[in-house]
Amino acid sequence: DMAGMDGTSTVEEMMSTLPTVLATAGPSGEPDASATAFRKNGGGYLNHKMYFATMSPEPQSEPTPGSPLAQAIDTSFGSWADFQEEMTNAAATVFGSGWAFLVLDPVTGELSVIQKPNQDSPYMDGLIPLLGIDVWEHAYYLLRGPDRGDYISAWWDVVDLAKVEEAFARVTAS
């Protein structure tokens, strides 16, 4: 039985205990089946929740100048443009199904861009996702066919930095 499945932990907390649970092999050497299912569905739930929450038909396309998020991006990446390039490249080079994320390391306070396969969540690494782009084929295939690059460009047009700033304020306050 998985740690945290007693109803008192958040989904995020449970995701962060997963690496330990998954690494502990059962009697037959197989990883815990319920943990694997949770990784897929819990991760999928968290990832898509954030994905849809950070897009908008009338988005704020860049961080507010001088805001804590803008400063953190400049510190960690050099500039907004540098961050965009790194995020775009990470999204474009995921092989198979997965995500690219802008994450905050709560220990160091640093921002970085990471890739994750399938529906794995950055919470599994102890990182907090602030922004993510789904690059599973289902995210773009019906509208754009195989052209992932085109989809990534279009995604930047609907990313709402106001939402990301809100999330950043929430996680840095705690």
Binding site: K40, F95, G96, S97, G98, P117, N118, Q119, W136, E137, H138, Y141, L142, G145, P146
Partner: protein, 229 residues
């Protein structure tokens, strides 16, 4: 004059002692891998797999794997020529992705045929399927379940294990070729990357799988089995 030079002067063949290497070309060349043609028209598998999917799948997806694979093979030959083994190793993941994509799709196209040419398995393979799974239907149910359960992108396989002389169903992720799991022979593969079905079946992977089994070219699968056994 040595015997060798005498032979060359006479216009005869040059006998080279064993272990003596010929002159290496200045720049090592890798031979280009071609994108194989489909054994049928793009629309030939309809209504089970749409012509739109087959065209995109072959030209864009398999085509891109071949293009990338060729570029990587050239780089690899170059690194090997220069003795830059660190760089050679650094591109192996990409070679597995793209080369695997080429290997897997080359099998896949041949594993299918138009419905009008469909015949269930017979002969030695037919017998082995019944012995192992109980029936063709049971094999299809098991293989569909496993392929449907692949998380993210990957493949379902009917495979042959030469060491145990048995056939079994398994899956691989992304474009990993079957051999990455062991010394197994791929008999039948089904692509469960979303690009293989999304335009027609949306997220209903099980529907795609039951339709896939309507167009399996069991003759091709039998040939692979017979070649391996």
């Amino acid at each position: 004059m040595s015997t060798m030079r005498a032979n060359i002067a006479k216009g005869g063949t040059m006998k080279v002692a064993k272990g003596v290497r010929g002159v290496r070309s200045v720049r090592a060349k890798a031979s280009a891998v071609p994108l194989p043609d489909l054994p049928y028209d793009y629309g030939a598998l309809e209504p089970y797999i749409s012509g739109d999917i087959m065209k995109l799948h072959h030209q864009m997806h398999h085509g891109t794997y071949v293009k990338n694979f060729n570029g990587l093979l050239e780089k690899q030959a170059d690194f090997e020529q220069k003795g830059d083994y660190a760089s050679l190793i650094s591109i192996q993941q990409a070679i597995k992705f793209n080369g695997g994509g080429h290997v897997n799709h080359s099998i896949f196209w041949k594993n299918m045929c138009p419905k009008s040419d469909y015949a269930p398995p017979s002969g030695a393979l037919g017998k082995k399927i019944d012995e192992t799974f109980g029936s063709l239907e049971a094999l299809e149910t098991k293989m569909s379940a496993m392929a449907a359960g692949v998380q993210g992108s990957g493949w379902g396989w009917l495979a042959y294990d030469p060491a145990k002389d048995n056939i079994f169903v398994t899956t691989t992720s992304n474009q990993d070729p079957l051999v990455t799991q062991g010394n197994y022979v791929p008999l039948l593969g089904v692509d469960v990357w979303e690009h293989a079905y999304y335009l027609q079946y949306k997220n209903k992977r099980p529907d795609y799988l039951s339709n896939f089994f309507e167009v399996v070219n069991w003759k091709d699968v039998e040939e692979r089995y017979n070649a391996a056994t």
